[in-house]
Structure formats: structure tokens, C-alpha cells
């Protein structure tokens, strides 16, 4: 039934109940919020892996191939894999074409795989506002590894690094010169860099440019709790016992790997790097640090939204309209207008 979530069924692995829960959570309905509360204690176990990169770089194909390998490993146990694939919503109609499943047909019938497409619904930053909540539901439902594929991202859609433990940035050859490779933004968030379409004649140029750029100091190597220090929080950063970093000087060096994901070439190296990175995070206490940073960020965003909603309830519409009128006549700057509205 729509509008309800069977939390016990979700925890027991019922696919239909899980799909319904994801819908309620995505729509931020009362049932969805209730389900999130009930599922939260069961979350925190899955390895969250983000996959980002420009449109057409080959993110979906790479996700497809990585999942195939994770399901049929040469050694060890197969992992249960969930995929959340985000595609953009139209800014004009709110509609969306969610087409990531097209490249994932090999894994559609695997009972150990669950794929969910979602639209960005107006949120910028490469993922939707509720992507982290959907990931949490899948985590509680018992998936070992969750692949989060962002919308085709440009240079500044870096939200995924806040959500994921491990971020893979996929580049295709011929996308720009070596200055592109040292610009701030998306390349800085990579824990693993993949040059896909490596059978392209320019692939080695891209590989060299990316490898060279990694020789410069990387701000991304700073402990995760400081990673987004430029973002203003509603409260000061809390240093917890669980998140002290005694390994400050030990850095993860992002590998630069070549793949041809349509052919399945080079995939085992990527999966190996994912596992190595997870091990590094655990041995260097980064797992907890990233978890704490993520939860703080989330609390911060919820507080901001709650403050804004609370304030909005108290202020009269006529006051807002009056201030807006003064702004339109250029008598009041937007900065002064905001201050004026805040002062009772």
C-alpha cells in the first residue's frame, strides 16, 4: 500500500517493501521519515562508493562491470550490491529521463543486486537531496557495498565525496589539457581516478596529465573532518574521541587506472583499489572520521532548514513584501534586506 513502510520486511530483505520504503523516503513523506528513524540503528555497515565524472565518461558501464566482478569474485565471497543512479531533473518541468539501467542489463536479473534510479529533483551538487537517505535505507537492508552514481558532473559537483567512503572519478580521454587536471574541484575529491575508454589514442595523454597533477599537494588528503572546512557550519566542528586522527601524516595516494568498461578491461584493478581503499580507511581511522564528518554535515543541513522554516513561520508575509519592494526600487541592498528581516 502506498503511504506506508513495513520496516520489518525491509530488514528481512523483502524487495518490494524495500522499493516502497525508498519511494516514501525519496518523497520525504511522514511514513518515510518514520522509516528512516527505525532503520537508522541498522545502518552504518555498508561500504559507500561514489562514482562521478562528466556525462558520457562511462560511469554506468563501469558500475555495471564492477558489479559483475563484485558478484563473481575470483576469491572470497560475493558481495551484495545496491546501486543508486542519479540523473538530472528538468529545471522547467521537473520531469526526468532515468536511463542508467540501459547500461546495467547484465546485472538486472541478479538477485544479489538492487538498482534504483533517482532524479536530482532540483538539487545541484551531483546527487539529489534525499540520496543519502536512500543510501541509508539500502545500508540498513543489508547490502555490503553501495555504488552511488552521480549525474554527469562537471567541475564542482563534489557532494558525493561527503556521502561516500570512497570516491571514484571517471575521466574520458581528450577532455582538456593539463591545466584542467590541476583545477580545483572534482579531481581533488578522487580516491581512485579512472581513465575510461583507454583504447582511445589520447588515453595516455590523459593518464599522464592526471598522474602529474597528483604530484602536487592534494587538499583532499587532509583528514576528512577538515575536508570541507570552507563550508560554514551552524555549530563549530566537534572533535570526538572516535575521530582523533593519529595517522595525520599517512596519506592515501589515489591510483590512476585505465579501463575499457564496455569490454570489461581493467575492471579488476578498480575493484582491487576499492577494497584497498576500504582497508586503508579502516586501519587509519578514516572510516570513523568520514562517518562523523558526514553526520555532522547532515545535522548542519537539517538545522539550517529547520531554522529557516521556524523563522518563516514567525515573519509576516507583508513584511517580506515590503522589504522586497524596497529592494526592487534599489533603496535597499539584498544584504541589508536580509538583516532588516531578521531584526524583529
Amino acid at each position: 500500500m502506498r503511504g506506508t513502510v513495513d520496516v520489518q520486511a525491509v530488514l528481512a530483505g523483502d524487495r518490494r517493501a524495500l522499493a516502497r520504503a525508498l519511494t516514501e523516503v525519496e518523497n520525504d513523506s511522514p511514513a518515510g521519515r518514520e522509516a528512516l528513524d527505525a532503520l537508522f540503528p541498522h545502518s552504518g555497515k555498508a561500504h559507500l562508493v561514489g562514482v562521478t565524472g562528466s556525462p558520457g565518461a562511462g560511469k554506468s558501464s563501469l558500475v555495471n562491470q564492477m558489479t559483475r566482478l563484485l558478484r563473481n569474485p575470483e576469491a572470497g565471497e560475493a558481495k551484495k550490491v545496491a546501486i543508486v543512479a542519479v540523473d538530472p531533473s528538468s529545471p522547467f518541468t521537473g520531469g526526468a529521463i532515468l536511463g542508467d539501467r540501459i547500461r546495467m542489463r547484465d546485472i538486472t536479473d541478479d538477485p544479489g543486486v538492487f538498482i534504483r534510479s533517482m532524479a536530482s529533483r532540483g538539487h545541484l551538487g551531483g546527487i539529489a537531496r534525499t540520496t543519502s537517505a536512500l543510501v541509508r535505507v539500502l545500508d540498513a537492508a543489508g547490502f555490503d557495498l553501495i555504488l552511488i552514481e552521480t549525474v554527469g558532473a562537471g567541475q564542482s559537483e563534489v557532494d558525493i565525496a561527503r556521502l561516500a567512503h570512497t570516491t571514484i572519478v571517471v575521466e574520458a580521454p581528450g577532455m582538456g589539457d593539463d591545466i584542467q587536471a590541476i583545477k580545483a574541484g572534482i579531481l581533488e575529491i578522487a580516491d581512485i581516478l579512472v581513465v575510461n575508454k583507454a583504447d582511445h589514442p589520447l588515453a595516455d595523454n590523459t593518464l599522464r596529465a592526471l598522474s602529474a597533477s597528483l604530484e602536487f599537494a592534494r587538499p583532499g588528503q587532509v583528514a576528512a573532518i577538515d575536508r570541507f572546512h570552507h563550508k560554514e557550519l551552524a555549530f563549530s566542528q566537534v572533535q570526538l574521541d572516535q575521530t582523533t586522527n593519529e595517522f595525520e601524516n599517512e596519506h592515501w595516494t589515489p591510483p590512476v587506472l585505465k579501463t575499457v568498461s564496455t569490454e570489461g578491461v581493467g575492471i579488476e584493478k578498480v575493484v582491487e583499489a576499492i577494497e584497498k581503499h576500504a582497508a586503508f580507511l579502516r586501519t587509519h581511522n578514516q572510516w570513523n572520521i568520514r562517518d562523523a564528518a558526514r553526520l555532522q554535515e547532515e545535522l548542519n543541513e537539517l538545522l539550517m532548514a529547520a531554522f529557516a522554516a521556524e523563522w518563516r513561520k514567525q515573519v509576516e508575509q507583508s513584511r517580506i513584501e515590503a522589504v522586497l519592494g524596497e529592494m526592487l526600487e534599489r533603496k535597499l541592498s539584498p544584504q541589508s534586506a536580509a538583516l532588516k528581516l531578521l531584526s524583529a
Binding site: T93, G95, D109, A119
Partner: protein, 135 residues
Amino acid sequence: MERKIRVLIAKPGLDGHDRGAKLIARALRDAGMEVIYTGLRQTPQMITTAALQEDVDVVGLSILSGAHMTLVPRVVESLKEAGLGDVAVFVGGIIPEEDWPALQEMGVRAVYGPGTTTTQVIDDVRRLVSGQAEA
């Protein structure tokens, strides 16, 4: 957040012409819906898995091969077996009119032939979904 209508557009069977399917997907997108597009050559099982995981309200099938009387019942059965009997199914493509009643008998809610306007499909999908909400 208002509830978005989610539609799966799928092409079962072996014909490789997806222009019509893409046109409908695009039209539904422009009507503000979220359209999951799975591409060509989907088995009934793949369509059911996608419908279940994506929790769609409606499934649209595009068939130009003439195999609709074989494929459609399999998809409808498969959906029912997965507990998705309440998901509305519509079919578009080259479907002779004499087959329409049989398809509707199987539980297909609407059949669209060449010349159907996108407005009609959009209106029907909205009506089917609001009907589900009331049920």
C-alpha cells in the same frame, strides 16, 4: 515533496526500433514525470525486476515486431507473480485493432497505435495513476 509519477518505458522482444519508445519517454518527461528507460531487448523478467525495484506506477511497453500477443501476456503474468498486479500497463506500437480487445482482456489498460497523440498518453497515465490512488 509532492509525489512524482514514475513510469517505466520498456521494449520487450527483439525488434530494434526504439524511436517511438523514446518519443513517449520524452513526452512524459516534459509532462513532469520521472521516466525510467531501460532500452532494447528486455525479457519479461527484466521488465518486472525494473518495475519492482523502481516502484513505478505505470509500465509502458513498446512493441513493433508483431509479437505482442506472445510478449504482453508474459509481461502481465510476470508482473502479477511479483505482486505488481496493481501496476497499470499500456502498450504502444504496431498493434492491429482486432488484437486490442484480447490485450485489454489480459489486463492492459490502454493500447496505442500509430497516430496517437502524446497528449492522449499523458492524460491517460495521469488518469490511471489517480485511479490507483483512489483504489
